[in-house]
Amino acid sequence: MFSGFPLFPPQASTLAGRVDALYFALLAISGFFSILIATLVVVFAVRFRRRSEAHLPRPIHGSLALELTWTIIPLFIVVVVFVWSADVYVASRRVPPGAMEVHVVGKRWMWKTQHMTGQREINELHVPTGVPVKLTLTSEDVIHSFFVPAFRMKQDAVPGRYTTAWFEATSPGTYHLFCAEYCGTKHSQMIGSIVVMEPGAFQTWLAGGVSGSPAEEGQKLFQSLACITCHRADSQGRGPRLDGLFGRPVRLAGGSTVVADADYVRESILNPTAKVVDGYQPIMPTFQGLVSEEGVMQLIAYIQSLQAPGAETTAVPGAGGNKLQEGGASPAPRKP
């Protein structure tokens, strides 16, 4: 009837051990103080039990030394825990260089993932061991949360913006993927599996049926949506040139500057008048409703692949409005 009775989740990422170490340290601290308080209460309750109704104990009003003791010792402990946990947190947010990219779109009630080599999956994600994997997440409707307990990893997928997360799997196997942010009727069925494979097996899996890479798909969209009529490769178009744009600062009408990251490009597609490039008219129509979240991600991948001749790759794909995550800059996806 019951399939096993686990008390502890499997450890399957490089970060899992660090999170668990923090967990056990906190368990030890909590255990110590819980037992201390419980013991004192029980010992006092027995030792100083009321022996006669008339007994009035002598009052003890307090002790500054004791107050300072139980202020300073806990303060010291929480400072240590704070620094330790912050260290783990920053590590969990800072994507290592060279991470393999995966796009994730949450939709009620499924997870859609796409590899840069083109493979698409639903409620599944195949990844190799030993390679950091960077997820760029968004949602088509409500807020979801991509949660893999075996990796101790969780990140909300928020509509209207990109968030990022990363992990590096260590042991092959199949692990739970849950949606952890309540998203409506079938929230508890918005689940799936993360399939971790040895690198060799993963390469074999990758070689299976492929459509096009996101950048190639994006190029097709770029043409079918007629973006190309205004965003021409020469400087004669009614819209700004896009090659070499990604990851660079853009001067806006009004004098401010913004870095052309994924969120900026996304906003320019869906809400073009929000930020208008200096020297251009606000004439671009919105593509809200005409292109899906996956399509927007593919367009971004395409624009990211358009490097100016001779330029270095400085792209920051999917930086979710968060400077720390820029550490995870990876080269623009290349065509296979």
Binding site: H61, G62, H187
Partner: protein, 562 residues
């Protein structure tokens, strides 16, 4: 009486004086007019401005709401015995946990101790005849009832399924349930909370009896002062937030909807700006109760009184600065996450100070393990676990794994049920003789307290394990390997339910059949124990004058610490 005509304090609290005054002859007691015998008609209750009667109106209404919220909880635990989601539909399950949360948080926990015990005791404890604004006090109860009726009406006519957190854009664009009507109920109920807080603050400032200085105030009053500050400063924010959700839902304003240029994370900031401090609205009054009880049942003044008093204010203040710790995985910036984590750790300090001071109060005391004291001991154990698991959640790197899982569910139930409700039940038992004029059956009381403690731990401790294993909260279906722990939790819940039903039965029974209570059955200190049980309508026949001895247990000479 505590004072003789002319305002000379009664000789009370002298060294070696036996504390409980002898019980008066029953007949004399029965004939004396009190607030309960002041009127028997429906009108005498529904139009009363007596803070003690309003407290009882609240007692009845929040008990009804607790029962409704409890029925929802029962159905949730029944459903989760099996992993397949085979008892109700997912839509129904989602409504059950939403309505359980809304009822318990807004209509039971937030009003519980302040509106019942606070209402009843604050004027008496400070030597006043009533609250500063008695009619406002009655209004606050009516506002509460109107809010509750709106919310219950929404539940009967379809319910709501957004979770008590109302996260957008689910609540604004996707839910097909009664979001606006429920929100309106919460909006209205908020005013009840604001009115109560306002009344308490003015009363505590302006109506203290001669000699009742700030640092002679019972700790119960201090904690309610801190609570009231949160009520009047925080509640308007949730009111505005709920209003914005309603406007966005009705008029598509685009405050939160990203498709219209809004920001869904903004909602979370606004929601938690109130809802985190709201946790302290629930726990601070309970801490006040514990301070009174720990003193009464060890016959000692609370150790480190001023530290305990000021730590309430510190918790209230710091509580407003930590809301972002609910959002470490929302996409909030890493730096913001770190700041909120650090500030959250600071809240641990005043909480720890309180626990250590209560424990130290027991040292060299004269401890009796009557029912209220059993609740105190339960509170100390459960609040310690609840507070310490808060350290896990404030730890950014660890919170990423455990947030939105059953670990969080277990943690906040240890605080709200293990902390707030244990304090509430302890307080109800302790002051029951004063409120009803009757003694409850002590044996039954102790049995119920032990059942609550055991049932509670069996219900919620397995949920910590489930959470670390990765079971997300609000899951109707769940993987089979989580079943054993869920069955344990449901079994515990059935024990807990018995523990809650028992007091309902024997306290009701005691109102008619219980032995009559003397003015001070516990031999406790405090102005409320110097007037009759139940108190006369005007509380004090003569203006009390407060000296140190009114409050302090034991001899005047101070013992030396070890």
């Amino acid at each position: 009486m505590s004072t003789e005509p002319g305002g000379v304090p009664a000789p009370y609290g002298r060294p070696g004086a036996p504390p409980p005054p002898p019980e008066r002859p029953g007949t004399a007691l029965r004939e004396r007019a009190n607030y309960l015998s002041a009127g028997y008609g429906v009108k005498s209750w529904l139009l009363t401005t007596d803070h003690k009667r309003i407290a009882l109106l609240y007692l009845v209404s929040i008990t009804v709401m607790f029962a409704i919220g409890g029925i929802f909880a029962t159905l949730i635990r029944l459903e989760l015995i099996t992993p397949q989601g085979d008892m109700v539909q997912s839509e129904t399950y989602n409504k059950l946990f939403t309505m359980h949360g809304i009822i318990m948080v807004f209509f039971f926990l937030i009003p519980s101790i302040p509106a019942v015990l606070g209402n009843f005791l604050i004027p008496i404890m400070i030597g006043a005849k009533d609250l500063a604004f008695p009619r406002l006090n009655l209004l606050s109860w009516y506002v509460y009832v109107v809010g509750a009726v709106f919310t219950l009406y929404a539940m009967i006519t379809g319910g709501v399924d957004t979770g008590w957190t109302f996260y957008v854009p689910y609540s604004t664009h996707y839910s097909n349930t009664k979001v606006v009507l429920t929100g309106l109920g919460i909006f209205i109920n908020g005013f009840s909370s604001i009115l109560t807080g306002l009344n308490f603050i003015v009363t505590i400032h302006k109506m203290r009896a001669p000699g009742m200085t700030w640092f002679r105030l019972p700790l119960f009053v201090w904690s309610h002062y801190a609570t009231s500050l949160i009520m009047i400063l925080g509640t308007p924010v949730i009111a505005v937030t709920v209003l914005m959700v309603a406007l966005e839902r009705g008029l598509h304003l685009g405050i939160f909807d990203p498709a219209l240029g809004g920001d869904p994370i903004l909602f979370q900031h606004l929601f938690w700006f109130y809802s985190h401090p709201a946790v302290y609205i629930m726990i601070l009054p309970s801490m006040g109760v514990i301070s009174e009880l720990v003193a009464a049942f060890s016959r000692k003044t609370v150790f480190g009184y001023s530290f305990v008093a000021v730590s309430s204010l510190a918790i209230a203040m710091l509580g407003f600065l930590v809301w972002g710790h609910h959002m470490f995985v929302s996409g909030q910036s890493v730096y913001a996450g770190l700041v909120f984590s650090g500030l959250s750790y600071l809240v641990a300090i005043p909480s720890a100070i309180k626990v250590f001071n209560w424990t130290a109060t027991l040292y060299k005391g004269s401890i009796s393990l009557d029912t209220p004291m059993l609740y105190v001991i339960g509170f100390l154990g459960l609040f310690t676990i609840g507070g310490l698991t808060g350290l896990f959640l404030a730890a950014t790197g660890l919170d990423v794994h455990v947030t939105d899982t059953y670990f969080v569910v277990a943690h906040f139930h240890y605080i709200m049920v293990g902390g707030a409700i244990m304090g509430y039940l302890g307080g109800i038992h302790y002051w029951w003789p004063k409120i009803s004029g009757r003694l409850y059956p002590e044996g039954w009381g102790r049995i119920a307290a032990i059942i609550v403690f055991v049932g509670f731990n069996l219900t919620f401790f397995p949920q910590f394990v489930l959470g670390y294993l990765g079971m997300p909260r609000r899951y109707h279906y769940y993987p089979e390997e989580f079943q054993v722990l869920n069955v344990l939790s449901s079994a515990g819940a059935s024990i807990l339910a018995v523990g809650y039903l028992l007091p309902l039965v024997y306290l009701t029974w005691s109102m008619r059949y219980g032995r009559r209570a003397s003015a001070n059955p516990w031999g406790a200190r405090g102005l409320e124990w110097e007037i009759e049980s139940p108190p006369p309508t005007e509380n004090f026949l003569v203006q009390p004058i407060v000296t140190d001895k009114t409050f302090q247990y034991g001899a005047e000479e101070e013992a030396v610490i070890v």
